[in-house]
Amino acid sequence: MLALAGAWELYRWIWTTTGWGWPFTVDNTSMPHLWTIFKAFGQPTQVNQPTLISILFHKSLFTGKEALVGFAVGAVVGFTIGVVLAHSRLLQRGFLPYIVASQTIPILAIAPMVVVWVNPKLPTGLQGWGAVAVIASYLTFFPVAINTLRGMRSADPRALELMRTYAASPWTVLWKLRVPSSLPYVFAALKLAATASVVGAIIGELPSGLQDGLGGAIINFNQYYSFEPQELWATNVVAAALGIVFFLAVVVAEKLVVRGAPENVA
């Protein structure tokens, strides 16, 4: 962390003193001082307004809520898709290409459509942010589905044979063998999904015109970037922190769930 901060300031210092223009000119607009960015947290954005950090904190709670719901929905949907596809080669052949294709479409192109489709269907309490959560889930389901599918197949063939000697039903084999064997794969995917859900929520806010979250703040501070770059930088720091919080939450959950597994499995 300190090394990174040092590198930032050192880079700044070298480029400003030498006046190098490559790859880009370094000045207070392109790379504000770190202390300028952190000082901005404590100052109000406008007269008689709360401090920037307090605004960003509330906005990140809002975005966090969207991301959390999107993450949960995406994880459940992705896991279910993975389990279903693992049990049918036919379904896998039929659907996997479309699932892959779904991720090649830029999320920015889909987000406005989702907002238009989903919002009218939602109860008033969910309107606005509910559609954003759906957009976030669109990004999260994919890695979970792919890794669950892979994880389901990672069960030891001899263990499957052992289950056969117990005349275990496919349902029992799923819960007692396939799901536990797939957990390392599923958690690897959930870590990807955790950060993707935050990105998805922020991007989803853009076409929704929502001002309550970090996406709204980014649009807003973008317009003032040439005057007050530190506010956009500060927002980025908060967005990154939110992503890290999500990631760490998954790491903790993994520690709790696969406590029993040895290091090389976890």
């Binding site: 001899r158 263990a159 056969r164 000697t165 029993g260 499995v265």
Partner: protein
């Protein structure tokens, strides 16, 4: 009634057109400890898997406890131990042993009592809450045996269960297995490629020969029980080992040179 009845079992593998087993007839009486021995490729493991309904025979019939093999499998009539312990890493030792009991729908209290008995039986008291990877190979295989016996199956199928262990661990587990078998009185089918192991453990040794897999002969092992460390030094033990070796050798013309050297 015979525990296992095998009539005219033949197994050919379509891939490579290999005849793994040809016209096998075998009957196992209750309480017998029968070893299947032979060089690799004689189909001894395949025969065990056919008894357990893990591989279907190409022709012939297998009856276990008077039922077709498939019915016996779904009724939980046998427990199986593989060469690897095949324990579930995410379960503790106790929960691994209790796995088949969960399948059978035993309640928690009943499971706990039985698992404790099994831990006593395989001498792993105090390891109930350990995880498999914390145990040595020999201990893991004991857990695997406890799991196979937990629901008191009439038949125990063992596919080279000690093959991956060192000689000393193997001999100790041989003694333990015999004592467990004598306590429970179950019927055991034991696949091995160690002659001395087969003679030491069994009441009867089935000698098999390869290409195609056939039964080359039977050797009744009339060594008295309980068998101990001294049994391995008994002259009669050596006579029986020689007898089995001769039977294997007589079929030597079917063996590849490197297999014949091992005898």
């Amino acid at each position: 009634m015979n525990v296992v009845e095998i009539k005219g079992v033949t197994k050919t593998f379509a891939q490579g057109n290999v005849t793994a087993l040809e016209n096998i007839d075998l009957e196992l009486q209750p309480g017998e400890f029968v070893s299947l021995i032979g060089p690799s490729g004689c189909g001894k493991s395949t025969l065990l898997r056919i008894i357990g309904d893990l591989t279907p025979p190409t022709s012939g019939t297998v009856t276990v406890n008077g039922k077709p093999a498939k019915q016996a499998r779904t009724d939980g009539d046998y427990g199986i131990v593989f060469q690897d312990s095949v324990l579930f890493d995410w379960r503790t030792v106790a929960k691994n042993i209790g796995l088949p009991l969960e399948m059978l729908g035993w309640d928690r209290e009943k499971r706990r009592t039985r698992v404790e008995q099994m831990l006593d039986l395989v001498e792993l008291r105090g390891f109930a809450d350990h995880h498999p990877w914390q145990l040595s190979g020999g201990m893991q295989q004991r857990v695997s045996i406890a799991r196979a016996l937990s629901f008191e199956p009439a038949l125990l199928l063992m596919d080279e269960p000690f093959g991956a262990l060192d000689e000393m661990t193997r001999e100790r587990l041989n003694l333990e297995l015999l004592s467990i078998w004598q306590q429970l009185g179950s019927t055991v089918v034991f696949v091995t490629h160690s002659i001395s192991e087969a003679v030491f453990l069994s009441t009867r040794v089935v000698v098999m020969s390869p290409r195609p897999g056939r039964i080359a002969g039977f050797v009744d092992i009339d060594l008295p029980f309980p068998r101990t460390v001294e049994t391995r030094e008994d002259p009669h033990f050596f006579e029986l080992v020689t007898l089995v070796r001769e039977l294997l050798r007589r079929r030597g013309e079917h063996l590849l040179p490197e297999e014949a050297e091992l005898l």
